[in-house]
């Protein structure tokens, strides 16, 4: 870590000096999230030994002409309880320098990159999930001829304050036929291909392991008028985890097929997304750990913002799932019977994912099974993982009142999506209704009220009960542009265990001025078990104060 600090200092300091002579520009942003943890036996919340925990970040970016240099200082003293404890201490785990010269774009240090839809490579950062798998190494981008975009990279993937063992090499080419051939048709075509390979030494004397594991994909994008089709096929060669246990080393290949079609015109939008994924988890190390994943398979469900709609969220199963997500947006025009004075926005969404034909592909010395993507189209015999059928109506009643209503039916296979034992909770069915009204009292003063209800039905064959029914109320008062006040109560009134029929109350006050934002909160959070890639983490319940400050310059 010391070495990193020093390196970054050497990298950056000359530019800091230069900037004082107006030779370039420095900007950045800062964020700190402080949380206190106190004992609360009613929700099994345990006080932190440190009493308060804090995560903070500072990004600094220097730009001058074609040159950019940047770094991020991260401080976890100690990491918030819902963060992995391997985020600990201070450091500069992210620093880079980048320039462009005669069409060649060179990056050294840390970088984020995605090839295609991410099936073979996606390095990204998500503070909410505690994910940062930036690559550290070299990346080149070049446009050799009009319409051909080429990227090549080599690097190691970040895991907390370390780098994982595998060396990642990748290349991607995107060919825009219309640009290259100067076609001026109504239809445009973009072809793409990616290749990513991971090297890790085989030091397992019991098994013959591949040292160079490759993953590749081909993609096609066709646009015609309001239509947009995107298709991608990805393939990964054998990638056993390197265990000593016979059954754990799966030598089968992986594959993924993505087909997305959208259509849009004024007042109407239709999106149909689908995928088939089989044994497609690609990691920066052979061993299975959630933090090592370097590819991404988009989740096929609507990303809900309302709490109870997102209480049972869909999680992609990269080892095997098939599904689709359909979205229809329609705006009923103004001055019609249902459109009223301002028009009415409708959004109908239907998503479903399920298991694939006979489970994921599997191959070792004594058994083999290959799943058939075409069989998975028939969902008749497949296990349901997740389904969500919902309708959202957004209506402006008059100049003062806006209304948003959502009605949803969800099914959630808790055992599969949370890595529980099969049969423990089974499939939870819930019906959710949300009403969100905002009322503008006077200029700059708005009050917003959310009422949410979740009625849940447990699986009759399951051995355990889920949480049962919930109410939620949220009231928010905003005085723009500086203040907001919010209070919310989640009430688990339908819990089968009477002692757990609890209120989870949260309050917060925010103040924004110029480039700075302050928020203080107090409340209780629910506990849960969070599982990814077979490794489970208990996210504890908590009770305490929080303070978030963010600013930019």
């Amino acid at each position: 870590m010391k070495k990193n600090l020093l390196l970054s200092f050497i990298f950056i300091s000359p530019y800091l000096l230069l900037s004082q002579n107006n030779l370039g520009q420095i900007n950045g942003n800062f964020e700190t999230n402080l949380q206190s943890y106190t004992d609360d036996p009613s929700i099994d919340a345990i006080a932190a030994d440190e009493v308060i925990l804090n995560n903070a970040y500072l990004n600094i970016l220097y730009t001058k002409g074609d040159f950019t240099g940047g770094l991020r200082y991260e401080s976890y003293l100690n990491a918030l309880q819902d963060y992995d404890s391997r985020y600990q201490g201070n450091g500069i785990p992210y620093r880079f320098a980048r320039y462009t010269s005669d069409g060649l774009d060179v990056t050294v240090g840390n970088y984020y990159e995605q090839f295609g839809s991410g099936l073979v490579l996606r390095s990204y950062e998500d503070k909410g999930l505690g994910i940062d798998n930036s690559l550290d190494g070299v990346r080149l981008k070049y446009v050799p001829i009009n319409g051909l975009y080429v990227t090549g990279l080599i690097g190691k993937s970040r895991t907390y304050f370390e780098y994982s063992k595998g060396i990642i090499r990748g290349a991607d080419a995107e060919f825009n036929i219309n640009e290259a051939l100067k076609l001026e048709g109504e239809t445009s075509y973009i072809l793409g291909g990616s290749f990513v390979s991971r090297f890790q030494k085989d030091n397992n004397p019991a098994f013959n392991l591949p040292e160079n594991v490759a993953s590749m994909s081909a993609r096609l994008n066709i646009m015609h008028g309001g239509f947009n089709y995107y298709g991608e096929y990805a393939y990964k060669i054998n990638d056993p985890v390197g265990s000593f246990s016979f059954d754990e080393n799966n030598y089968s290949t992986g594959k993924a097929i993505v087909n997305n079609l959208t259509y849009s015109q004024k007042g109407l939008g239709i999106t149909i997304e689908s995928h088939f994924v089989d044994h497609m988890e690609f990691r920066s190390e052979r061993a299975k750990q959630k933090e090592f994943i370097i590819n991404y398979i988009p989740t096929l469900s609507k990303n809900h913002a309302y709490t109870l709609l997102a209480l049972y969220p869909c999680a992609t199963q990269p080892e095997g799932e098939a599904g689709f997500n359909t979205n229809i947006f329609y705006k009923i025009p103004k001055n019609t019977l249902f459109g009223g004075k301002y028009g009415t926005k409708l959004n109908l969404n239907f998503a479903r994912t399920n298991s694939i034909d006979g489970g994921n592909s599997y191959l070792n010395d004594s058994s083999s099974h290959t799943s058939n993507p075409f069989k998975s189209i028939s969902i008749k015999d497949e296990t349901l993982y997740f389904s969500d059928f919902n309708l959202e109506i957004n209506k402006k009643i008059n100049k003062k009142v806006k209304l948003n209503l959502v009605l949803a039916k969800q099914k959630y296979n808790k055992d599969v999506l949370e890595g529980k034992t099969i049969g423990e909770y089974g499939i939870i069915s819930s019906t959710i209704a949300v009403a969100d009204v905002s009322y503008k009292i006077k200029k700059g003063h708005t009050i917003r009220l959310e009422l949410q209800e979740l009625l849940s039905k447990d699986d009759a064959t399951a051995t355990n009960h889920a949480d049962g029914d919930w109410h939620m109320v949220l009231a928010e008062y905003t005085i723009s542009p500086n203040w907001f006040f919010a209070i919310q109560d989640m009430y688990n009134y339908g819990n089968y265990d009477e002692e757990k029929q609890l209120h989870y109350v949260n309050t917060s006050i925010g103040f924004m001025k110029g480039a700075n934002r302050f928020e203080i909160g107090y409340g209780k959070k629910r506990a849960g078990i969070f599982c990814v890639g077979g490794v489970c983490k208990e996210v504890p319940s908590s009770n305490g104060f929080s303070l978030n400050i963010s600013s930019n310059f």
Partner: protein, 311 residues
């Protein structure tokens, strides 16, 4: 058209790169050559895996299987201890319940977890000779084998010899450690102190276990379960300076009933939802595991194991 040629050759290039740089392994995948001759005359380096587990942890049986596979391959060079630390995965149900009523937790396991914090990163996890503390010691099961390779390649600096005359719940364990090289003789700074730890584990405990695929298993065989540590969780000092051939010896009296009572007391009086159901030790299924570690970095430099009885 010239552009198209470029493009085609570029894609061909990618394809070529692709063929030359990936290793498709054709079966058989298992390497037959499973010969690891152990030279019985000399001390060899052995490795300790501490497997952090719990009876309600559905992914944990896979880690136990990994440990068994490693032991199957490496023979007695790989020694295991299963630690059931106090987390929700190890909490027992009340005695009148039908499942998961056994309390596997021990004060020693909890002390170890407090230092190494395996439960905070999620189970199953393990440590291999406690290497990599304090950033890279919490290993997923698939990471164990690669660290074992590195550890086994090292030369042993101590040799441990154990004997026991325990029968019917009482007896004495004799521990002898021999320095196999000069240690710290010329150093004036950063002198490493070595501690020795004497543990008892038990195999073949038939109790409930959650499993990812099989559900709740009634008659699961729990092996290598840490029962107690005879000379405190972090052991006792052996000193810091050794000449090749130096011998350290000590005898430890064992009284199974007293040790069982101590665990019961911990379960009943200290642990959350402890029900005291932690007894029923079978001395014939028990092992003595002794390890020596460097107190500077906690790294275990040698470990040995024998049966508690029948010597």
């Amino acid at each position: 058209m010239k552009h198209l040629k470029y493009t085609i050759s570029f894609f061909l290039g990618i394809l070529l790169f692709n063929i030359t740089s990936c290793d498709v392994v054709e079966g058989p995948y298992l390497i037959d050559d499973n010969t690891n001759p152990v030279d019985t005359n000399n001390f060899v380096k052995k490795v300790l895996i501490e497997d952090f587990t719990g009876h309600r942890c559905p992914n944990c049986p896979a880690a136990a299987e990994e440990l068994a596979s490693l032991q199957n391959f490496y023979g007695d060079k790989v020694i295991g201890i299963a630690i059931h630390p106090s987390s929700t995965f190890a909490i027992p149900d009340p005695l009148n319940s039908s499942k998961f009523t056994y309390d596997f937790r021990t004060e020693f396991g909890d002390d170890i977890d407090n230092i190494f914090e395996l439960t905070t990163v999620g189970l199953p996890r393990g440590m291999v000779n406690r290497t990599g503390f304090d950033t890279e010691h919490q290993l997923g099961k698939d990471e164990w084998s690669s660290v074992i390779q590195t550890e086994l390649a090292k030369s042993p600096i101590f040799g441990i010899t154990l004997s026991s005359d325990v029968s019917n719940g009482n007896g004495t364990i004799s521990v002898t450690a021999e320095a196999l090289t000069n240690i710290n003789l010329d150093k004036t700074e950063e002198i490493e102190d070595y501690n020795i730890v004497i543990c008892l584990t038990e195999n073949g405990i038939i109790e409930w276990q959650k499993d990812n695929t099989a559900g709740d298993i009634e008659e699961y065989e729990h092996n290598h379960v840490l029962r107690t540590i005879l000379n405190t969780t972090f052991g006792e000092s052996m000193g810091n300076s050794f000449v090749d051939g130096d011998i350290w010896e000590k005898d430890y009296p064992v009284d199974i009933t007293t040790l069982e009572n101590a665990n019961e007391n911990y379960s009943l009086n200290t642990l959350f939802m402890g029900n005291g159901n932690s007894k029923g030790w079978d001395e014939n299924n028990m092992e003595i595991v002794v390890y020596i570690y460097n107190t500077n970095n906690y790294e275990i430099v040698q470990v040995e194991q024998i049966h508690l009885t029948n010597h």
